[in-house]
């Protein structure tokens, strides 16, 4: 029996979270297959074949899979599920859409957002916005699991897996893909960036959010993040939201600027290696998770920080 990983990719390259999921998959000490769903994905399959420890790469290539629907991907997984002991994916918006549907069709439970595999069928996962961790054990024969990528290191290349293909059925009549809007940015991707600069409601406007935080992000080669309040106010796009209901990040350095530190926000960043908080309220809860807190007006402190980084940088 093997572990099947549902890959996350952008049509050209694998996302780093897929390599992190491979590390999680090694917990079972079984052979590891990677499924690439999409259209014109030969390059992605090639890349996956090079990952250390992967024994087989499977392509599911069809025009309608360029923008895969959960209905189609779940159907595909169910067809082949009998060969696998575990179907695993990084915990992303894609897998959150597809895998619960797959699990229900197989009549098994799904274990979401796993931070450690503690046995062949037991897992550690956060509940209550990360305030509590629960150890759960499954009684099902097939394990359907998503893992929190930031809890695992990324596997590097050192493999030569075989590349196979699965036949793909016609698309579902239940749903149609109409279009998408991508937020384009030259900054590193939030989920896997080495550093993240996040802003809250206190930035006051979309213009100030950008004007104050972008130079700092630039200086640190950081991704931008935001609180839900900042996103709701329209200061930042939805996909920058960090937290219980946004993206969970664990960068080397996280700088929270004018962020109060509600548990729903800290749920998404408290595993960062080093946390800096800049807030004018000395009692703001964010200081409870910060390694370095600076009580200051962000509109003065952030430009000063950018200037200090520029002058003191030993490059």
């Amino acid at each position: 029996m093997s572990v099947l990983i549902l890959a996350e990719h952008d049509g050209h390259k694998l996302k780093k979270v897929t390599r992190q999921a491979v590390t999680a998959a090694r917990s079972w000490q079984a052979s590891i297959h990677i499924l690439i769903v999409g259209h014109h994905i030969a390059a992605v399959a090639q890349e996956a074949a090079g990952i250390a420890g992967v024994t087989e790469v499977i392509q599911a290539d069809a025009a309608h899979l360029a923008h895969p629907l959960a209905e189609d991907v779940a159907g595909l997984l169910v067809e082949h599920a009998g060969h696998y002991q575990v179907i695993l994916a990084p915990h992303t918006r894609f897998s959150k859409n597809v895998l619960p549907r797959t699990a229900a069709l197989l009549d098994v439970a799904m274990i979401a957002d796993v931070i450690a595999v503690t046995g062949p069928k037991s897992y550690l996962r956060p509940i209550y916005a990360g305030n509590i961790t629960a150890t759960v054990e499954s009684s099902d024969t097939i394990q359907i699991v998503t893992v929190r990528a930031s809890s695992y290191a990324a596997v590097t290349d050192d493999g030569t897996a075989n590349i196979a293909s699965w036949a793909v059925s016609a698309t579902t009549p239940l749903a149609r893909w109409l279009g998408e809007k991508r937020n384009v940015s030259d900054r590193p991707e939030l989920a896997t960036a080495r550093a993240v600069v996040s802003g809250g409601r206190s930035l006051g406007s979309a213009e100030q959010f950008e004007a104050v935080l972008a130079p700092l992000a630039e200086e640190l080669k950081a991704a931008l993040g935001a609180t839900r309040a900042a996103v709701d106010a329209g200061y930042a796009p939805n996909d920058l939201q960090v937290g219980q209901t946004g993206t969970v990040v664990a960068p080397e350095l996280y700088i929270a600027v004018g962020v109060s530190g509600a548990i729903q926000h800290t749920a998404g960043m408290k595993d960062s290696k080093v946390i800096v908080a800049i807030n004018q309220d000395p009692d703001a809860p964010i200081f409870q998770v910060a390694d370095y807190g600076l009580v200051a007006n962000l509109f003065e402190a952030v430009p000063a920080l950018v200037a200090a980084l520029r002058t003191s940088a030993p490059r």
């Binding site: 549907r101 509940i127 150890t135 749903a175 149609r176 809007k181 390694d291 600076l294």
Partner: protein, 249 residues
């Protein structure tokens, strides 16, 4: 068009839950409870569709013990036409929830089924997708906009790096993101009125569904605490610490 909305009773989002002394579970005795925030968005959307003449009836359903009547009263006070409590003492997990909801859907025959994208206690985020699978219908997950066409609905959903738009054939299952809308406040007179409205109760046994849990919770724990931090006095000191002590610059 008839809309069914599933509402879960959960610990209030402001409460920091504690663990029972034996570490078996969280202790929710006496803790403030309420409707799962995402389910409130789902219900709000259903009510708005009705107010715009797109829906004729909004039915709220909750699964669990008799205590769940309070979230159904809240749903009625917000404007739901009817409320159904599926009574069970079983420890419900998303697959069990989906199976019970499927049985309710078969009785009620709604055209649209709305859920929250995630329950904030277990943070599972699965019941809607599972229900759609069991019903063999299309799904719109984590949606921030919904539009009704004739035989279809069009939903905008959050994906990594942006949003996508899907058309779903009806009936369909949709799960609400917080961004879908701003739920209305419940006015006191409405709450008083809702107290008088009947809540239909069905026992889970009556539905003939096996909703028993597949996952056993072995234990719960506090996550490892972060080591206490310090306050720095100036931007200069911050840069110094980040460079020399934390070595992240």
């Amino acid at each position: 068009m008839k809309i069914l909305v599933a509402v879960k009773r959960v610990v209030d989002f402001n409460v920091k839950v504690r663990i029972k002394p034996d570490g078996s579970d969280v202790d929710i005795a006496g803790v403030k409870m309420g409707i799962n925030p995402f389910d409130e968005n789902a219900l709000e959307e259903a009510l708005r569709l009705k107010e715009r003449g797109k829906a004729s009836e909004v039915v709220a359903v909750s699964l669990g013990g008799t205590a769940n009547q309070d979230v159904l009263r809240h749903a009625l006070a917000m404007g739901a036409d009817r409320a159904i409590l599926v009574e069970t003492e079983v420890n419900l997990q998303p697959l069990g929830v989906a199976k019970l909801l499927k049985a309710v859907v078969e009785r009620e025959q709604p055209d649209l089924i709305l859920l929250g994208k995630q329950a904030i206690d277990s943070d599972a985020g699965q019941a809607g997708q599972m229900l759609a699978a069991l019903l063999g219908v299309g799904q719109g997950v984590a949606i921030s906009a919904i539009e009704i066409w004739d035989e279809e609905i069009v939903v905008t959903r959050e994906i990594d790096g942006g949003t996508e738009t899907l058309a779903l054939r009806l009936p369909a299952v949709v799960t609400a993101d917080l961004r879908l809308n701003e739920p209305r406040y419940v006015k006191l007179p409405n709450l008083m009125m809702a107290k008088k409205k009947p809540i239909q109760t069905i026992s889970a046994a009556e539905l003939g569904v096996d909703a028993s849990p597949r996952l056993t919770q072995l234990k719960v724990a506090d996550p490892p605490p972060r080591k206490p931090g310090i306050k720095v006095g100036s931007v200069q000191e911050l840069v110094e610490k980040l460079r020399v002590e934390a070595k992240v610059l």
